[in-house]
Protein backbone atom coordinates (compact mmCIF):
# COMPACT_ATOMS: atom_id res chain seq x y z
CA UNK A 1 0.00 0.00 0.00
CA UNK A 2 1.36 3.39 -1.02
CA UNK A 3 0.68 5.52 2.00
CA UNK A 4 1.76 8.87 0.51
CA UNK A 5 -0.76 8.43 -2.30
CA UNK A 6 -3.38 7.31 0.21
CA UNK A 7 -2.92 10.47 2.30
CA UNK A 8 -3.23 12.69 -0.79
CA UNK A 9 -6.35 10.83 -1.91
CA UNK A 10 -8.14 11.01 1.42
CA UNK A 11 -7.32 14.71 1.76
CA UNK A 12 -8.79 15.31 -1.70
CA UNK A 13 -11.91 13.36 -0.89
CA UNK A 14 -12.49 15.07 2.46
CA UNK A 15 -11.04 18.58 2.33
CA UNK A 16 -12.16 19.24 5.93
CA UNK A 17 -9.56 16.88 7.38
CA UNK A 18 -7.31 18.90 9.68
CA UNK A 19 -4.28 16.66 9.79
CA UNK A 20 -3.09 13.23 8.69
CA UNK A 21 -0.14 11.66 10.44
CA UNK A 22 1.73 8.38 10.24
CA UNK A 23 2.31 7.78 13.95
CA UNK A 24 4.26 4.55 13.65
CA UNK A 25 4.99 1.73 11.26
CA UNK A 26 1.67 0.79 9.65
CA UNK A 27 -0.34 3.11 11.91
CA UNK A 28 -2.19 6.10 10.49
CA UNK A 29 -4.00 8.77 12.50
CA UNK A 30 -6.49 11.07 10.78
CA UNK A 31 -7.54 14.16 12.73
CA UNK A 32 -11.03 15.29 11.76
CA UNK A 33 -13.66 17.78 12.91
CA UNK A 34 -16.77 16.29 14.51
CA UNK A 35 -19.01 17.05 11.53
CA UNK A 36 -17.00 14.79 9.25
CA UNK A 37 -17.30 11.70 11.45
CA UNK A 38 -20.41 10.01 9.93
CA UNK A 39 -19.22 10.56 6.36
CA UNK A 40 -15.74 9.19 6.78
CA UNK A 41 -16.95 6.31 8.99
CA UNK A 42 -19.36 5.32 6.25
CA UNK A 43 -16.61 5.57 3.64
CA UNK A 44 -14.17 3.43 5.58
CA UNK A 45 -16.59 0.88 6.98
CA UNK A 46 -18.95 0.35 4.06
CA UNK A 47 -17.04 1.37 0.96
CA UNK A 48 -13.50 0.33 1.79
CA UNK A 49 -14.71 -2.53 4.04
CA UNK A 50 -12.32 -1.70 6.86
CA UNK A 51 -12.84 -3.81 9.95
CA UNK A 52 -14.13 -1.94 13.00
CA UNK A 53 -11.78 -2.50 15.92
CA UNK A 54 -12.66 -0.30 18.91
CA UNK A 55 -12.95 3.27 20.16
CA UNK A 56 -10.45 4.72 22.62
CA UNK A 57 -11.61 7.61 24.75
CA UNK A 58 -9.17 9.80 26.55
CA UNK A 59 -9.23 12.91 28.68
CA UNK A 60 -6.46 15.12 27.36
CA UNK A 61 -5.40 18.70 27.82
CA UNK A 62 -7.50 20.26 25.08
CA UNK A 63 -10.62 18.16 25.43
CA UNK A 64 -11.90 14.64 25.28
CA UNK A 65 -10.27 12.68 22.50
CA UNK A 66 -12.25 9.93 20.80
CA UNK A 67 -10.12 7.68 18.63
CA UNK A 68 -12.02 5.33 16.33
CA UNK A 69 -9.79 2.48 15.24
CA UNK A 70 -10.33 0.61 11.98
CA UNK A 71 -8.15 -2.03 10.42
CA UNK A 72 -7.36 -2.56 6.76
CA UNK A 73 -6.66 -6.26 6.85
CA UNK A 74 -5.45 -6.55 3.27
CA UNK A 75 -2.42 -4.41 4.12
CA UNK A 76 -2.20 -4.69 7.90
CA UNK A 77 -2.57 -0.94 8.46
CA UNK A 78 -4.53 0.34 11.45
CA UNK A 79 -6.41 3.50 10.56
CA UNK A 80 -7.56 5.76 13.37
CA UNK A 81 -9.96 8.69 13.34
CA UNK A 82 -9.26 11.28 16.00
CA UNK A 83 -12.13 13.54 17.08
CA UNK A 84 -11.61 16.19 19.74
CA UNK A 85 -14.62 17.12 21.87
CA UNK A 86 -14.59 20.24 24.07
CA UNK A 87 -14.59 19.74 27.85
CA UNK A 88 -17.76 21.81 28.28
CA UNK A 89 -20.04 20.02 25.83
CA UNK A 90 -18.87 16.45 25.37
CA UNK A 91 -21.45 15.40 22.78
CA UNK A 92 -21.05 13.45 19.59
CA UNK A 93 -23.28 11.64 17.12
CA UNK A 94 -23.58 7.88 17.80
CA UNK A 95 -22.18 5.72 15.02
CA UNK A 96 -24.51 2.77 15.77
CA UNK A 97 -26.52 3.36 12.59
CA UNK A 98 -23.41 2.63 10.51
CA UNK A 99 -21.40 0.20 12.64
CA UNK A 100 -23.64 -2.19 14.62
CA UNK A 101 -20.92 -3.49 16.89
CA UNK A 102 -20.05 -0.05 18.22
CA UNK A 103 -23.00 0.01 20.63
CA UNK A 104 -21.23 -1.48 23.66
CA UNK A 105 -18.12 0.66 23.56
CA UNK A 106 -20.20 3.83 23.24
CA UNK A 107 -22.13 2.85 26.35
CA UNK A 108 -18.86 2.11 28.12
CA UNK A 109 -17.47 5.54 27.22
CA UNK A 110 -20.68 7.12 28.51
CA UNK A 111 -19.98 5.39 31.84
CA UNK A 112 -16.33 6.09 32.25
CA UNK A 113 -15.98 9.57 30.73
CA UNK A 114 -19.50 10.98 30.63
CA UNK A 115 -19.52 11.65 26.91
CA UNK A 116 -23.02 11.92 25.47
CA UNK A 117 -23.74 9.95 22.32
CA UNK A 118 -26.68 11.47 20.47
CA UNK A 119 -29.28 9.05 19.04
CA UNK A 120 -27.82 6.04 20.79
CA UNK A 121 -30.42 3.21 20.83
CA UNK A 122 -29.87 2.30 24.48
CA UNK A 123 -28.08 4.98 26.49
CA UNK A 124 -28.01 3.05 29.77
CA UNK A 125 -25.38 2.23 32.36
CA UNK A 126 -23.13 -0.54 31.15
CA UNK A 127 -20.10 -1.28 33.30
CA UNK A 128 -20.24 0.55 36.58
CA UNK A 129 -22.22 -0.78 39.56
CA UNK A 130 -25.72 0.47 40.36
CA UNK A 131 -24.40 2.20 43.48
CA UNK A 132 -21.94 4.31 41.48
CA UNK A 133 -22.85 8.00 41.93
CA UNK A 134 -24.26 9.81 38.90
CA UNK A 135 -21.91 12.37 37.44
CA UNK A 136 -18.74 10.73 38.75
CA UNK A 137 -16.63 9.48 35.89
CA UNK A 138 -13.55 7.46 36.88
CA UNK A 139 -11.49 8.23 33.78
CA UNK A 140 -11.88 12.01 33.91
CA UNK A 141 -8.82 13.79 35.21
CA UNK A 142 -10.02 15.27 38.48
CA UNK A 143 -7.02 17.45 39.24
CA UNK A 144 -7.23 19.31 35.94
CA UNK A 145 -10.90 19.98 36.54
CA UNK A 146 -10.24 21.78 39.81
CA UNK A 147 -7.41 23.77 38.26
CA UNK A 148 -9.65 25.19 35.60
Amino acid sequence: MNIEQYIIDIKDKFPDITNVEVINTKRLMVYIPQSLLPKITDYWFNELQYRYVIVTAMDSKDGYELIYHYSDDSSGWIMSLNVLLPHDTPEVESMTSIVYGIEWIEREIMDILGIKFLNHPKPERFLLPESWPEGDYPYRRKIRKEDR
Binding site: L128, P129, E130, S131, W132, P138
Partner: protein, 146 residues
Protein backbone atom coordinates in the same frame (compact mmCIF):
# COMPACT_ATOMS: atom_id res chain seq x y z
CA UNK B 1 -17.72 -34.86 67.72
CA UNK B 2 -20.00 -31.91 67.15
CA UNK B 3 -22.55 -31.65 64.38
CA UNK B 4 -20.19 -29.39 62.45
CA UNK B 5 -17.38 -31.94 62.41
CA UNK B 6 -19.83 -34.66 61.45
CA UNK B 7 -21.20 -32.74 58.53
CA UNK B 8 -17.76 -32.10 57.08
CA UNK B 9 -16.45 -35.60 57.60
CA UNK B 10 -16.67 -36.80 54.04
CA UNK B 11 -18.14 -36.11 50.59
CA UNK B 12 -17.87 -32.36 50.54
CA UNK B 13 -20.06 -30.69 47.98
CA UNK B 14 -18.55 -27.58 46.61
CA UNK B 15 -20.11 -24.46 45.13
CA UNK B 16 -17.86 -22.22 43.14
CA UNK B 17 -18.48 -18.49 43.05
CA UNK B 18 -16.44 -16.21 40.87
CA UNK B 19 -16.71 -12.68 42.19
CA UNK B 20 -14.56 -10.88 39.65
CA UNK B 21 -11.70 -13.11 38.72
CA UNK B 22 -9.33 -13.51 35.81
CA UNK B 23 -10.54 -17.06 35.14
CA UNK B 24 -7.30 -18.76 36.14
CA UNK B 25 -8.47 -19.88 39.56
CA UNK B 26 -11.80 -20.97 38.08
CA UNK B 27 -10.02 -23.09 35.49
CA UNK B 28 -7.75 -24.61 38.11
CA UNK B 29 -10.82 -25.50 40.18
CA UNK B 30 -12.41 -27.18 37.15
CA UNK B 31 -9.07 -28.85 36.54
CA UNK B 32 -9.43 -30.57 39.89
CA UNK B 33 -12.41 -32.48 38.51
CA UNK B 34 -10.61 -33.77 35.45
CA UNK B 35 -8.67 -37.04 35.26
CA UNK B 36 -5.26 -35.96 36.56
CA UNK B 37 -6.46 -34.66 39.93
CA UNK B 38 -9.93 -36.21 40.05
CA UNK B 39 -11.26 -34.98 43.39
CA UNK B 40 -14.41 -36.99 42.91
CA UNK B 41 -12.55 -39.95 44.36
CA UNK B 42 -12.76 -38.09 47.69
CA UNK B 43 -16.47 -37.62 47.20
CA UNK B 44 -16.03 -33.94 46.38
CA UNK B 45 -18.04 -32.54 43.55
CA UNK B 46 -19.11 -29.23 42.13
CA UNK B 47 -22.80 -28.55 42.60
CA UNK B 48 -25.02 -26.15 40.72
CA UNK B 49 -26.68 -24.46 43.65
CA UNK B 50 -25.38 -23.04 46.89
CA UNK B 51 -28.33 -24.65 48.65
CA UNK B 52 -26.76 -28.07 48.11
CA UNK B 53 -23.24 -27.09 49.11
CA UNK B 54 -21.00 -27.66 52.15
CA UNK B 55 -18.19 -25.51 50.88
CA UNK B 56 -18.21 -22.12 49.17
CA UNK B 57 -15.15 -21.39 47.05
CA UNK B 58 -14.70 -17.73 46.18
CA UNK B 59 -12.32 -16.58 43.46
CA UNK B 60 -11.49 -13.12 42.20
CA UNK B 61 -11.74 -9.67 43.74
CA UNK B 62 -15.04 -8.55 45.20
CA UNK B 63 -16.19 -5.78 42.88
CA UNK B 64 -18.72 -3.19 43.97
CA UNK B 65 -21.32 -4.82 41.79
CA UNK B 66 -20.78 -8.40 43.02
CA UNK B 67 -20.56 -7.51 46.72
CA UNK B 68 -24.32 -7.60 47.27
CA UNK B 69 -24.59 -10.85 45.28
CA UNK B 70 -21.82 -12.51 47.29
CA UNK B 71 -23.65 -11.59 50.49
CA UNK B 72 -26.88 -12.96 49.10
CA UNK B 73 -25.29 -16.24 48.08
CA UNK B 74 -23.75 -16.54 51.55
CA UNK B 75 -27.14 -15.95 53.16
CA UNK B 76 -28.77 -18.63 51.02
CA UNK B 77 -26.13 -21.17 52.01
CA UNK B 78 -27.15 -23.89 54.46
CA UNK B 79 -25.19 -23.44 57.67
CA UNK B 80 -22.67 -24.55 58.77
CA UNK B 81 -20.71 -23.73 55.64
CA UNK B 82 -16.99 -23.51 55.01
CA UNK B 83 -15.87 -20.46 53.05
CA UNK B 84 -12.54 -20.72 51.24
CA UNK B 85 -10.87 -17.79 49.51
CA UNK B 86 -8.96 -19.11 46.52
CA UNK B 87 -6.14 -17.07 45.04
CA UNK B 88 -4.51 -13.79 45.94
CA UNK B 89 -7.51 -11.72 44.85
CA UNK B 90 -10.13 -12.68 47.47
CA UNK B 91 -7.41 -12.96 50.14
CA UNK B 92 -6.09 -9.42 49.80
CA UNK B 93 -7.19 -7.87 46.53
CA UNK B 94 -3.88 -8.75 44.93
CA UNK B 95 -2.87 -6.71 41.95
CA UNK B 96 -6.34 -5.19 41.61
CA UNK B 97 -6.50 -3.74 45.12
CA UNK B 98 -5.92 -0.21 43.83
CA UNK B 99 -8.79 -0.36 41.36
CA UNK B 100 -11.77 1.96 41.72
CA UNK B 101 -14.25 -0.90 41.55
CA UNK B 102 -12.68 -2.91 44.39
CA UNK B 103 -14.93 -3.40 47.40
CA UNK B 104 -12.51 -4.94 49.86
CA UNK B 105 -11.06 -8.39 50.42
CA UNK B 106 -13.47 -11.27 50.98
CA UNK B 107 -13.12 -11.35 54.77
CA UNK B 108 -14.49 -7.80 54.94
CA UNK B 109 -17.69 -9.10 53.32
CA UNK B 110 -18.28 -12.59 54.73
CA UNK B 111 -16.43 -14.70 57.34
CA UNK B 112 -13.68 -16.80 55.76
CA UNK B 113 -12.42 -20.16 57.09
CA UNK B 114 -9.39 -20.71 54.92
CA UNK B 115 -7.15 -18.72 52.60
CA UNK B 116 -5.33 -20.41 49.73
CA UNK B 117 -3.00 -17.79 48.25
CA UNK B 118 -1.31 -18.00 44.89
CA UNK B 119 -1.84 -16.53 41.47
CA UNK B 120 -3.31 -18.96 40.70
CA UNK B 121 -2.73 -21.60 43.39
CA UNK B 122 -1.83 -24.94 41.89
CA UNK B 123 -4.53 -27.60 42.07
CA UNK B 124 -2.38 -29.50 44.55
CA UNK B 125 -2.30 -26.43 46.78
CA UNK B 126 -6.09 -26.21 46.73
CA UNK B 127 -6.41 -29.86 47.69
CA UNK B 128 -3.83 -29.44 50.43
CA UNK B 129 -5.65 -26.40 51.77
CA UNK B 130 -8.97 -28.18 52.01
CA UNK B 131 -7.35 -31.21 53.61
CA UNK B 132 -5.56 -29.10 56.22
CA UNK B 133 -8.80 -27.39 57.08
CA UNK B 134 -10.61 -30.67 57.58
CA UNK B 135 -7.84 -32.61 59.31
CA UNK B 136 -8.44 -33.19 63.02
CA UNK B 137 -6.58 -30.57 65.09
CA UNK B 138 -3.28 -31.66 66.71
CA UNK B 139 -3.79 -33.12 70.23
CA UNK B 140 -2.52 -30.13 72.25
CA UNK B 141 -4.84 -27.77 70.40
CA UNK B 142 -7.76 -30.15 70.80
CA UNK B 143 -7.11 -30.22 74.55
CA UNK B 144 -6.96 -26.45 74.71
CA UNK B 145 -10.35 -26.25 73.05
CA UNK B 146 -11.97 -28.46 75.70
Amino acid sequence: MGIKDLSFKKSLWVFHLSAGSCNNCDIEILDLLTPRYDVERFGMKLVGSIRHADVLLVTGIITKKTKARVLEVYEQAPKPIIVIAIGACPCTGGIFASGYNFAGPLDKVIPVDAYIPGCPPKPEAMLAGVMKLLAPPPPEQANANK
